[in-house]
């Protein structure tokens, strides 16, 4: 069985005179999405913590990520980069596909 594709088959349109603007634009929206995801998560955490009433702002500022926590955060950052860069990869793949078709 094959791996499900990461991008749709078919014509990939460009909208701006310079394709770089298309890619930056798409990356910007991906970034906005991840920011919104992070805001939601922070909001969830703050509300849960507030409800329990057992954590102070100093606890948060003094926290140091180590070991497995640090690794998990690194993986999360890598995932953010992947999402941020996906538009560039998609446009690059479309270019490769076009040159293959020629």
């Amino acid at each position: 069985m094959q791996t499900p594709p990461d991008r749709p088959k078919g014509h990939r349109p460009y909208y701006f005179d310079d394709p770089a603007i298309d890619q930056l634009h798409a990356a910007f929206i991906a970034l906005a999405t991840e920011l919104s995801v992070a805001f939601d998560r922070i909001d969830t955490l703050e509300r849960l913590l507030e409800a329990r009433g057992d954590l102070s702002r100093e606890d948060i500022d003094g926290y140091v990520a180590e070991g497995a926590v640090d690794e998990a955060r690194a993986a999360r950052r890598a995932d953010l980069s992947k999402r941020l860069l996906k538009p560039f990869i998609d446009y690059r793949e479309a270019l490769f596909e076009r040159s293959r078709d020629r």
Binding site: P8, P13, Y15, F16, I29, T44
Partner: protein, 380 residues
């Protein structure tokens, strides 16, 4: 707006997956409600006047509009956003689906064997030898990666699971709690125009996940309801989903251009926004097959999306044709559906196209603020 109904065949997104879906839904609502209408305004205020100044007349057709609108920075900005939001809509639902796919496939197997109330049960008949038509395989319709027809693992249901969640996000939930809006719309039409019509055997063509099919099965519980599609994974999901909702429907993998059903064996043949995903030659063959399948006095109803009246509306309605892999839909603009139905064997006196106003939130419309459905109706 009623929330999207959860059932056993939908994955449970984790916190961030849910947040990603919520954002893309919100972004699309913002694009359709606040950004898209601006494209009409820039056309009227600067694009059309500039064209007129240069040519001494306004654009004659949507192709002339395309030449100038695609160079307008506002249109470019909206298009790039709209395209990216469509890609992200799939990405946001694919993550939880892939993560939980083995469990979903397992649940589909169990649901398939479930007996429904009053001893009734639905069925699923797949045809591995079926040749998926080129209008499905040439490009992934609506940008769903892999399309609606590709199996990536044994007993795959992913395409259906993804489609169900994706179309919910597509319209910001405006398709209803079970993505039932298209079925409801066509049902409202038949109740208004043919209030005494009580079909005993119904066929829904291009049914995908059966979201509209279930509307009909519930409205006519005495009827035997069939749904056909060319995509195996969407049909597996459709069957499991119908079983989860306890609604008996018979799904089979068939091409609507030539089915294996007996001639004259249906009272009602319907489709919901399917015809514009086919092709010029397939369209006539599908209508001819509908004619063959209907008993004398039987009814054919196809729900279609509007294609616009003014040149700018026509251009905007075809945004999806050029940017969302709806390759055939641009040709639908100038196709007279009634004339096609006549080619398929229906008579002039018994065939008509109607405009039907939906009960829906226009703020969720992606390409126009003035929406009405187009319905092709014919009696055999």
């Amino acid at each position: 707006m009623q929330k999207f109904i959860q059932h056993d065949m939908l994955p449970r997104p984790d916190h961030d997956e849910q947040a990603r879906q919520d954002f893309v839904s919100s972004l699309r609502g913002h694009l359709s409600g606040r950004v898209m209408p601006g494209a009409y305004r820039v056309y009227q205020s600067r694009v059309e006047p500039a064209f007129k100044a240069q040519h001494g007349r306004i654009p004659a057709d949507q192709e002339e509009v395309r030449q100038v609108m695609t160079k307008d920075s506002y249109y470019q900005f909206w298009s790039a956003m709209q395209r990216r939001s469509q890609e992200m809509l799939w990405e946001a639902v694919i993550d939880p689906t892939e993560r939980q796919l083995p469990q979903l496939i397992g649940r589909a197997g169990k649901l398939s064997n479930r007996k429904l109330a009053k001893g009734r049960r639905g069925s699923l008949r797949l045809d591995p030898a079926l040749q998926v038509p080129r209008y499905h395989t040439a490009a992934d319709i609506h940008l769903q990666p892999g399309g609606y027809h590709t199996d990536f693992t044994a007993d795959d249901v992913a395409a259906g699971v993804v489609y169900d969640q994706g179309i919910n996000l597509y319209m910001g939930g405006a398709l209803g709690p079970e993505n039932n809006l298209t079925g409801d719309t066509l049902l409202a039409y038949i109740q208004e125009k043919h209030p005494d019509f009580k079909p005993r055997r119904i066929l829904d063509i291009g049914c995908a996940i059966g979201n509209a099919t279930l509307v009909w099965a519930r409205a006519f519980p005495q009827a035997e309801v069939h749904g056909i599609d060319v995509g195996a994974p969407v049909l597996r999901y459709a069957h499991a989903r119908a079983q989860a909702f306890g609604v008996p429907v018979h799904f089979s993998q068939q091409n609507a251009e030539h089915t294996d059903f007996e001639a004259g064996s249906f009272d009602l043949v319907i489709s919901h926004i399917v015809l514009h995903e086919t092709s010029k030659s397939a369209l006539v063959r599908i209508l001819r097959e509908c004619h063959r399948l209907l008993r004398p006095g039987g009814l054919m109803l196809h729900l279609e999306i509007p294609r616009g009246k003014t040149v700018i509306e026509k251009f905007m309605h075809n945004w999806e044709s050029y940017n969302n892999n709806e390759t055939f839909c641009r040709y639908m603009t100038d196709i007279d559906l009634k004339a096609e139905a006549l080619k398929g064997g229906f008579t002039d006196a018994n065939t008509r196209t109607d405009e039907f106003i939906p009960h829906m939130d226009v703020a969720q419309m992606n390409y126009t603020e003035h929406f009405f459905w187009k319905i092709l109706a014919a009696t055999r």
